[in-house]
Subunit: 210 residues, 2 copies
DNA sequence: AAAAATCTGTTGCTAATGCAACAAAAATAT
DNA sequence: ATATTTTTGTTGCATTAGCAACAGATTTTT
């Protein structure tokens, strides 16, 4: 928590301390960036929420990533990918820092104090991003919707230290996050309720087992 | 490539330059580490191949991660997770560097030259890990086996700069990586061949479209 | 306060996928 | 060189999950 504050303070100081970084604001609905072939952009979301959207060759839209405060994203973190169009869309008003990857590790001057701090903070930031990604993979590798839901609830329950917790996402977004059909997920939710595994009142979920 | 060499040289020097890191060797089949509640371990695989294995409450075994040279892994990169047992198994003989996360960012002394370099190299290492993870998520979020396979082939084709390339994994491992049933994947492969999308001779795949 | 957009909840149908089981081929160990 | 283990390939069957479509509730916009 304290750590999170530290990082926020640091991130908000970046653009005034380093001329290689630029800050931009976006309104809800605007496109923050597209992932093209140049593969050199790295971004930090200072404020707001944004989705990484994929349109595949069939024209299907999928939300493949969801970003909030202190999330990092950008082309450099993605595999070169020919057949998809990827772009980041502001879900709410956003503030974003942009870097060019090539410049990232070039020091302004030897022992530049900013870059030293930057390098350390960056490590923590990316590490927590890795935890997020591994969490998602943990869920995506479950073979059926029931296990995906139960594992997801389990993680939330752990995080909020209670068998009773509230969903941080809309059910529509949750279906995207777990990469399953929304209606199929709703059906499975109903079954879990019928069978007495969980209780659900709006966004409040209670685990009834163990 | 050159960059990779740099990193390897650096990584191999770690244990002689920092007393907080320890190097261990493992034989094929040995358990490198288990992910417990302590949540403080970070590891770098210097040499060899290892799998991150999950046994869930039903006793199902899944390979949820595959590591090779210069991969980083360990509890700190994983969500706290009660119901699963996770451990890393050596697929071949392995050399591994172990850190305790708490110690990671504590400098030996102010301006310790090792930790400066470490911090920078670590950034690159984790970033490439993030690319790997995003690649996997990109694949896992495809709704059907066909799209998973075609996207995977696409990425390989891009990487090896040719419509003709060879699979770096056994088909069994590939099914695990894509998190699908092996026999269902084999069936889909057959269909892709029948329908003339791809050609397959052992591990050599040729894309016949576009 | 009304209109528009988004989210929730449900259902029928169908295709896709997981599971079990087995045999042949290939790779590894003895 | 032979035995053992792992990988590949295939099939039938049952279940799951995707898709399409719709209505009511809720939220956001005007």
């Amino acid at each position: 928590m304290e750590n999170n504050l530290d990082i926020s303070v640091f991130l908000n100081s970046i653009d005034s301390r380093c001329h290689k970084a630029t800050k931009h604001s976006f309104n809800k609905g605007e496109t923050i960036t597209t992932y093209l072939e140049k593969r050199n952009q790295l971004c930090i979301l200072l404020k707001g929420e944004a989705d990484l959207i994929r349109y595949d060759f069939n024209g299907n839209k999928t939300i493949i990533g969801q970003f909030s405060d202190n999330s990092i994203f950008g082309e450099v973190l993605y595999p070169a990918n020919t057949n998809n169009e990827l772009f980041v869309l502001a879900k709410t008003n956003c503030e974003v820092i942009f870097f060019t990857y090539d410049n990232l590790w070039l020091k302004c001057r030897p022992n530049c104090s900013f870059h030293k701090e930057f390098s350390e903070q960056m490590n923590k930031l990316i590490m927590s991003q890795v935890v997020e990604l591994n969490t998602r993979i943990e869920l995506l590798t479950k073979k059926n919707i029931r296990d995906k839901l139960l594992s997801y609830f389990d993680i939330l329950s752990n995080k909020q230290l209670s068998k009773r917790f509230s969903l941080p996402l809309s059910l529509t977004d949750l279906a995207d996050y777990l990469s399953v059909d929304r209606s199929a997920m709703m059906r499975e939710l109903s079954h879990l309720i019928e069978e007495g595994f969980i209780d659900k009142k709006g966004k409040k979920i209670t685990l009834l087992y163990e």
